[in-house]
Amino acid sequence: MKKTILMVILGLALSTSSAYAVGSLIQTRDAAVTQRENHIASREAKISQVQANISEDLRQRAEKEITRRVTFLNELITKLNTIKKISSAEKTDLQAQIQAQIDGLNALRTKINADTDNVTLKTDVKSIIDNYYIFLFFRVKVSLLIAGDRSSTVVSSLNGIYTKLQTRVNQVQTSGGDLIVLNSLLSDMNAKITDATTQITVTQTELTPLTAQGYPGNKTTLTDARSKIKNVNDELKTAYKDAMQIRTDLGGEKIKNPEASGSGDQKFEKPRPLSTP
């Protein structure tokens, strides 16, 4: 009997301790699981935060680039209005193309700001990169057209000055003055103006048919147009210097100027220094 009681007590003690041990193990495991879950949740929160920061950064950079392009394109539209040497049809067409770009960029900006997932955001931002060539093409082409137009204006003015100086030199010739240097300068001035005119025409002809879709294939043509306009600039500066030199050389000669009001005889005043390099 005693033995039985002892066995029961022992059994009870064993089962209790076993249950306690199992309970402790479960508790420990649950705590570990909870800790692990918390850790995972914390890591996921950090990842989400990092992704959100990356998205925000990307969004801000996209916004900056879109604003930059829209500002430039709007400036191009304004500048196009000042160009006189291209047809109004071409001007209107270019302005419409640029405006379409502006509208597209503004729509993209709205979409990017509304994007909620990173994949869509990255796709939209990538489209900004992919369409960069269109913006670049318009910027280069319009800049070249503006420079070409300005060159034409200078050519027109220099042609007028050349005619006037030629008239004055002829008057010196009538008075029996020495014309070798003056004629040489006039000849050089005329040659430079003529060559500049030809190069401007060629430049405008090669620029006109270029389209954004043809970029960067047509980049060589744009580069060529740039070097031509730079040559034109150099030639026009030389022609201008010739004109100033002729004025200086005519300074000592009293000549008849039938078009000038007042007395017929006149003398060139000392010309002001050339400010153009």
């Binding site: 990307l58 950079r61 996209a62 900056k64 680039e65 930059r68 000042t82 006189k84 931002v125 990538k126 900004i128 990169i129 960069y132 913006f135 670049l136 910027r139 280069v140 800049s143 070249l144 503006i146 420079a147 300005r150 060159s151 204006t153 200078v154 027109s156 003015s157 220099l158 042609n159 007028g160 000055i161 005619t163 006037k164 100086l165 008239t167 004055r168 744009l222 580069t223 740039r226 306009i229 600039n233 026009l236 500066k237 201008y240 004109a243 100033m244 004025r247 100027n257 078009e259 000038a260 009001s261 006149q266 003398k267 060139f268 005043e269 010309p271 050339l274 400010s275 153009t276 390099p277």
Partner: protein, 126 residues
């Protein structure tokens, strides 16, 4: 008992009415204030009316003074300047060359813009 009651009944004291204050001081203050307000209003009106009138007169004097006409320096506007080929006077050629000079400077700026457009760098979006 009743008689005692009647004998001991207190005669209520005569209410002492406060001596009637004279309104003279108050009226005097009101009158002085009114006079002061009227003086201030008249003074303000005078300053506003005659002050402006004097100012107008002064301005008119300034404007009526004979002025020397300051001729603006004629600087030909780039791009819009037109050379008159028939006018071969010194003055005309001076204006023409000034216009060319300005346009050549502007052409330098245009060419800088061309170079900048070729070297354009977009924001890093990678």
């Amino acid at each position: 008992m009743d008689n005692n009651l009647g004998a001991t009944q207190m005669i209520p004291p005569l209410s002492q009415t406060p001596p009637q204050k004279s309104n003279l001081g108050r009226n005097l203050i009101v009158a002085v204030s009114a006079i002061l307000i009227v003086i201030v209003l008249i003074g303000t009106g005078y300053i506003l009316f005659f002050g402006n009138a004097k100012k107008t007169t002064y301005t008119a004097q300034v404007y009526n003074q004979p002025t020397t006409a300051v001729m603006p320096t004629v600087i030909p506007t780039p791009s819009t300047y037109q050379v008159n080929v028939k006018d071969t006077s010194d003055n005309a050629i001076n204006k023409d060359t000034q216009a060319v000079d300005q346009n050549l400077n502007s052409l330098d700026t245009d060419l800088n813009n061309v170079d900048q457009s070729f070297n354009d760098q977009q924001t890093n979006l990678q």
